[in-house]
Each structure stands twice: as structure tokens, then as C-alpha cells.
Amino acid sequence: MSTGTWLVNSGGSLAKWGRRSLNDIGPGLLLALVIEIGIFWSLSPNFFTFNNITDGIGRGMVVIGIMAIGETIVIIAGGFDLSVGSVSAAAAITAASLSNSGAPFLVAALGALALGLGVGMINGVITGYGRINPLIATLGMLSIVRGFGQLVTGGREKVIDSRVFLDMGINDTFEIPNIVWILLGCFAVFGFIIPRYKFGRYMYAIGSSDRAARLAGVRINRWRVVFFGVSGMLAGLAGVVTSMRLGTAAPNFNTGSELAVITAVILGGASLQGGRGRLLGTFFGLLFIQILRNGLVLLSVRSFWQQIAIGSSLIAAVLYDEWRRTGLSRG
């Protein structure tokens, strides 16, 4: 086995991995991405510049990107997590509170991650052991966590006294923004884990058929807690990154971000029925969403159109997926 193979997938050759990924993600998304880039490149002279790529696109996709990794895991495992935006806000508030009461950056950040992990695990317990539909469970959690955030802060923005957050958030390393490195690091970590550990194997198995997985002896509810926990933890990290970008924490952080997160995951080819999807697909889906947002800004299109465009891509992606799997209904 060559080093290259080892890097991407311990299960097969590089070519096979590429073919399989392309097959899973589908040529539609890549084609759409190329067309999208072509359009914005030809319409805006500022689009294809180093600055726009690292800042406008790169920096802009970190927060939804980190949440999208967790969402991908949950969706492949047959679940759904609507609470990521709220959890990120609560995590940012946690980090800000810890930091303002004297905790060093790393401790504040870990505290935020722990909060996300905890909320995510509760989601997992409710959907797994409690057998509540994940859509309902996490919709409830969305509201609960957002409400607590507002309660704790009195609905006001909290300025973080320590400069470390903002400094780390706005600075670059090797000309790439630090927070973009965080996103790439998350993709690398989970891209490494999923093909190599039971974590990834059971994620697909439970999403494919939780009954079959249970009969095979997989402790499916325990794993649901793990998957939702990871999603919550990543949402926590996304909250920390949000406060690093702004130097503050507010209870309304990332309101409505679920839309972009879920759209990126679905565009990337993950099946709402579970069992199917690729982290690489989510990466491309994320690129598509962010280039769309960025391109519309560059063209000075009113921001309301962003929402309309993202919502349309979500529906288009699901339609395309349905059509690719079964053909359109003629009934």
C-alpha cells in the first residue's frame, strides 16, 4: 500500500477512492460548482483574487463548515440536528464568560466545546433511548438553548475582554487565515477517522438500517449519543470561532445558520434516509454555498437574495438526489 493510498483511505487504491467518491457525490454538484465559479469569475473582477478566496470565501465558510461536518455525521447516521446554530451561540457565550472571569483562551474554548458536547449528547439520548424523532427533539433543543443564551446574557452582546480571541481570529498563518486552518483541520481529523474506525462504520450501518445494526450487536443508542455529541461539540467549536471573528459573544449568533449547514450537507450528496454521504461531498457542498453567498455580495445583490438562493439550492439538491435515485414520479 502506497503512502498516497494510506493518506486518503486505507480501504482501497487512490483511483478507486476517487471513482467511488465521485459516484457518491454525483457529477451534478461538481458541474454546478464549475458553472457557478465561471459565472462569478466572468461577472466580477474581484472574485478570483487571492484575497477573496482566502478571506471572502475561506473565512466566510468556516463557521457553517465546522457545523456541517457534525451535521454530515448525524445525517449519515440517519438523524438530523437542527440545534447546531443555537448551540454555537450558547458555546460562544460560555467561552466569553469563562474568558472574562479569567480563564485562559484554551480553557474557555474547551469549556465551550464541553457545553456543545453535553447538549449534543442530550440530543442523542432523547432521539436514541427516548425514541423521539430527531427533527422534533433538536427543534425543541434549538429553542431551549437559544432561550438559555438570552436568559444568561439578558439578550445583550458580551464583549470579550481578552484580545487573544480576536487576535487569533483575524490573523493568518502562512497567509491563510487561522480559522480556515481550524476548518481544514476538522475535515482532516474526521476524514481520517471515518474510514478507519468503528465510528465511521457504525455511522453508515445505523443510518442504513438501525434494526440490522442492532441485530448484529451494535449498541445503536450508545452510538447515537456519540454522533449527536460530536455534532454538538463541533457546533461548540463553531461558536468559539464566531466569537474569535468578532471578539464578542451574543445570544443571536448564527441564527438561521441551520439552513446553510443542512443545504451544504444535502448538496454534498448525503441522503436524508441515512446510510449515504461523504465528508468530501459536504466540502464541495460547502464551497458551493459559500461561493454563492460571496459572489452575490461581490455583485452587490441585496442580501435578501442570499436566503432565496440558498433555499432554492436546498430544494434543487433534494430534487436532484431523488431524481438520481428513483427517477421523477409520473404519478
Binding site: 462504520r201 453508515y204 438500517s209 434494526r211 440490522a212 445494526a213 442492532r214 441485530l215 448484529a216 450487536g217
Partner: protein, 252 residues
């Protein structure tokens, strides 16, 4: 006797599905269980495979009393079950399905050892070869034929060398020529020393591979007899006598 069940009872709510079932099966033998729909055949298998817990009665495996809290306990004790719908994960490939829940891993670090894809792949090819078949083990089982999927389910049960194999209507979803293959497979499993409990609607299948047949009616075994030395007609008559609702020519 490798597996003995004594006076097992099971109720779901007010309905008593099993009213004290006793049966036993020896290594390298096949016990056939017939009965009407709702007689309790599937419930019996689910108790043996750890899906359900009995309300009363005793199960002995190799003279040890066993109690299963979950499916995995039965499998670890050496009782494998092939479900009627096969219970495969359609989005996983054949190898992943065969090893699901018992993945081979490299090294022994509990949390950190990698899945051993290479070993699982070669072992799954091996176990399928021992069943006399070659198939693409890297493809999603969704894309395999019904017969191939059946073989994946059998291979999964065999990979861990079970003492007892439970089969629920294994021929129900197969075409006629594949039924012959599967029955041949059961014969080969018996030669390997595996004890088999076979639930089937198809009298001809049962007569062909079983050593003993038990007729389950309303949660009780009302008749039990050896297959050898009796004519097909006699055996069939004996099975039909206790049952209503299914006949010889009804499709399985």
C-alpha cells in the same frame, strides 16, 4: 444435545404466544419447525437469538443454562440467526455486513486500533468461497441479487463458527434453482457439525434436510417425529393434519 429448550413461555400483553415449548437439537442435525402463521415459530427463534426474553422456561447450550439479555449475547455464545429479511445494511458492502458488530481490528488498543480492512476483505472472500461462491465483496449489498444477499447473510453467520444456526424461512425469497443451492448448503453446514433449527412453510424443503420435524400449533408442539424411514406422503400428511390454512400447493 447441544441445545435444549424446556417449557419456554412467552406472552405479548394478553396474548400467550408460546405456551410451554420444549425441543432439542444435536450437533450436525437439523430440526424443522412448521406451523401456521401466528403459531409462534418466529417468536421461538427470536427467543433463541436473544431478541426476546422468555417469560418462563429454560434454555441449555452444551448443558449450560443460558440467558440472553441482547442479540449479541446469543451470538457470542455461538447461536447465529439468519432473519427472514436477512437484516443486512443495504448501504454497506458484503464485507462490512459480514463483520458488522464484530469488526476485525489491527492491534489491541481498545479505542484506537484501526479497522483491519485487508483482513476482513480476505476473510469474507474465504468464507464465501467455502460456500462455493465468488461475488464482489466491495459492492453495496443493495446491488446484489437475492441469492447473493442470502449468501452474505449465511456467510455472516458462518464466519464466527456457530454451534447453532437458526434460519427463518430462508427459501421464501429465493427462486427455485436457488432453493436447491441453499438446501445443499444446509447439508454442508450439518457436515461441519453445525446444529440447525429451520423454520419453513415448505414441506418439501423440510423433508429434504431435516432429521426431526416439530409441528407448532397455537404455541405448543403438538407432534414431533423423525424424518428418516418415512415416505414423503406420510410425512406431509402428518404435518398437514395439525394445521389449517396452508396446503401443499400454496406458494411459500
Amino acid at each position: 444435545m447441544i441445545l435444549e429448550i424446556a417449557d419456554v413461555k412467552k406472552s405479548f400483553g394478553a396474548v400467550e404466544v408460546l405456551k410451554g415449548v420444549s425441543l432439542s437439537v444435536d450437533s450436525a442435525k437439523c430440526y424443522g419447525l412448521v406451523g401456521d402463521n401466528g403459531a409462534g415459530k418466529s417468536t421461538m427463534l427470536k427467543i433463541l437469538s436473544g431478541v426476546h426474553r422468555p417469560d418462563a422456561g429454560e434454555m441449555r447450550l452444551e448443558d449450560q443454562v443460558v440467558e440472553f439479555q441482547a442479540e449479541i449475547d446469543a451470538r457470542l455464545a455461538g447461536i447465529e440467526m439468519i432473519f427472514q429479511d436477512l437484516a443486512l445494511c443495504d448501504d454497506l458492502d458484503a464485507t462490512a455486513n459480514i463483520f458488522l458488530g464484530r469488526e476485525r481490528r489491527r492491534g489491541s488498543a481498545r479505542w484506537f486500533s484501526f479497522l483491519d480492512h485487508k483482513r476482513m476483505r480476505s476473510e469474507s472472500l474465504e468464507v464465501l468461497a467455502s460456500l462455493g461462491t465468488v461475488m464482489p465483496v466491495d459492492r453495496r449489498v443493495q446491488t446484489l441479487s437475492g441469492g447473493e444477499r442470502q449468501l452474505v447473510a449465511v456467510a455472516r453467520a458462518l464466519e464466527f463458527e456457530p454451534k447453532v444456526l437458526l434460519m427463518d424461512e430462508p427459501t421464501a425469497a429465493l427462486s427455485v434453482d436457488k432453493v436447491g443451492v441453499l438446501l445443499g448448503l444446509i447439508e454442508r453446514l450439518k457436515e461441519r457439525g453445525v446444529a440447525i433449527i429451520l423454520v419453513s412453510h415448505r414441506f418439501t424443503d423440510l423433508i429434504q434436510v431435516c432429521d426431526t420435524i416439530g409441528v407448532l400449533v397455537h404455541g405448543k408442539i403438538v407432534d414431533e417425529f423423525a424424518v428418516s424411514g418415512q415416505s414423503v406422503d406420510d410425512l406431509t400428511t402428518r404435518m398437514v393434519r395439525h394445521m389449517s390454512g396452508i396446503g401443499l400447493d400454496e406458494p411459500a
